[in-house]
Amino acid sequence: MIKAKHQPQEAAVKFTMLLAGVVLLLMMVFGFIMRAAQGGMIEIDQALFYQIMTAHGAGMVGTAGLTGISILWYFTGRYVPLLAGVFWTFLGLFLTGVVLILGSIFIGGYAGAWTFLFPLPAMSGGFWSNEAAATFLLGYIFIGVAFLLLHLEIARKLIAAYGSIGGALAWPLAFGNGRAENAPPPTVVAAMASTLFNVMGIVVGATVLVSSLVNLMIPDFAVNALLAKNMIFFFGHVFINASIYMAVIAVYEILPEYLGKPWKTTRPFAIAWTMVFLFVLAVYPHHLLQDVAMPAWALIMGQVVSYLSGIPLLAVTAFSLLVYLRQSRVMYWDLASALLVLGVAGWSIGSAPAIIDGMIAVNKVMHNTQWVPGHFHIYLLLGEVAITFGFMAWLVKDPREKGLNILDLAGFAVYLLGGVGFTLMFLISGALSVPRRWAVHVPEWFLQDRLATGFALLVILGALLFVVSYAQGLRKKRTR
Amino acid sequence: MKAFLASLAVLIAGSVLFFKATDGLQALTAEGARRLAVQREAPMVSSFMLETMKGSAEPLPGAPGKAVMVEFIYTTCPTICQSAGGDMARLRDLVIAEGLGDRVRLFSVSFDPDVDDVSHLARYGELHHADGEVWTIARPTVNDLPALLKAFGVVVIKGDPDTFGGYEHNTAIHVISPTGQLSSIVDTDDFDGALEALKRTLS
């Protein structure tokens, strides 16, 4: 549909997505193991449980970031020429970080969770050494630098091509008298906005990571726990949000091929993305609603912005998609289009329990129960990851085939069923006051744990089908 | 290739420099360096004559065969020296409990001899229950003061007038061996560290 001005770096991205698909599967297996252990179906050492939990968290967030930025890189590459070497350097740094993180967890025994909440990394109660914690933080720094590199390349090319940050964000259209025909495409707007906030998140993240590292080596350099927490959640929140906001570019670029109509940068779209930029930066205190030492205004801002964040998503991205679907005459369904639409649906649906949990009064009895993994698994598993699999399916799509074959259909069905069941069990457990991140559950909680384990198996099965068909598609495309 | 070699050379030279400048990554601050140097070199401390809270004269380091533990204070200090006084009293009790009371002398030495006359020293001693037996409060002569501070590596600076801080200095307990060597410097509330250092010098 959209004729590329430039050629995206297809090989690099395809390779990365294969890697990401395999890692996603592995992380899902980790999740399955944790749910099975909580349900008393298997027995694993509690220290190992928390190591797996740390690996699952860091691995899933990292992979979401990786897939998100790969999608962004691929499609931004249609509009501006991007240096291929930068992507390979990124991948090298990223994988170095992954090796450090995995080493710190499974060799060094680090199990301080992906949130490395100060001062837990330095106070393991004898379960891991300061060196292991330092290695973990160092791994994060590598990954941070890797992302910074890609974002800087994207930022400078977008600014060069569209004149300024405002130009790439379509500000003339959003706030001036610019015309929609002259506005940059949705991909550029989304890429610019997510690049901006992710760079800010990474800079703050680097600050708190290095401070924690210094503290590990020289305990005299203490760190204020609340300030560190603010910075960690700012960084973590921005990073995981960026992964979704970057992945949605696949929807803007791929679905028009199915809808027979381009996704346009309209005035609401342009305004929405500037709002998204501000909201992503301002909403992080909704992770700190139980920190009563925080100033009240920050918590109120967290609650209010948490609600407002839903508006650009529901009223712009989701709403536009629904209108486009209804208007289209030629829309057809294959694995790619089904997963991409599922991704937007999952993201939108997941925002409901998220916003509810973002209310201080509700948060008081829901925070850090399984409600929390419940809502974010909806917009990750059925959102970001669904979009990722959809993008992968599109990358290897055979243009001669239209529609879902039986394997695609089976994969989609079990993934959807598994994902819905799996996340519902979390939400129900959360409502029943089951805490999150507990290695051992009491028998009263076993029912949901065991059902969730079964649903997890379905998710893994579906994902396995997606990855296998992607790998086969790569081979077929090569031989074609 | 040339650029790579040049960068590598700078990287190695820079790392070596950094390693040297931090005593092998062990001391980033002057205070850390001071403690590390004392631990490695155990320099001799020349003798100074002090005036104690009882008005008598006493040498620092003291009688041969006795270890000495010294901290520096000024009695008009509103904050840290007062808690250091409490710490010193506790250290004295611990030393006696360990049965080392007759083998060690504890000094709190004022670095403000202009203000801290014998009556100030005595009042400070009374406040923190220093009876002069094991632990005494003392002051050097005004002339000896710079040399004394230099010998111990103590830096005293005028405090912030807004916050009632008269002076600020690197507060610590200095352990001197019976042979007159400065062998260890520890925090004033690091009782285990102080006792351990004391036992090391006595053994």
Binding site: L148, G167 | A13, L28, V155
Partner: protein, 191 residues
Amino acid sequence: MKPPSYLVAILVVGFCFALRIPLEADPVSHILVQLPLLAWSGVLITPNGTGRRSEWNRGGVATLLVAFFTIIFWMLPRSIDAVLSSPTMELAKFITLPFGVGAPLAIGWARAHPLLRGIIKAEVVSMLGVLAFLYIHAPVRICNAYLVSDQHRLGYGFLFLALGLSVFWIAPLFIVHTKRAVMPTKTPATA
């Protein structure tokens, strides 16, 4: 008429030397005024295009590393303390900041890839944040020569510098450069 830059450099160094006692009395002016000025004097004496062709310094990496390590050395609190008690260290400061930081930075920066520049800028902001974080919250005195309250002020100095530099570096990106906007700001042709 602009005075030649080496003259400015001499004036800057002279200023730093003549006023070294008051400048060094406060860590904020010592670290955030005197040290940067000395480094700047090194930038001033470096003619444009110095070492532009040297194979040894391709991409400016080697000289940037020289500057990096010199800065790291002067970031050590004990180096700052040593300056105040040792004339040799004071002399070393007046030599190494212009020649070990300013000049190599100027040479390296001119040749650095835009991405490397971007990374360095981001890292500078991060590291100033780290310094701010550590100095504001350190429960111990970091420099023997300075008060704890000075240390806190220095921490806030680092913080404001970090914020100032971020604005200084990001704000121009919002200004539209019409000359740079060579590409049509339109969606590429749709089929």
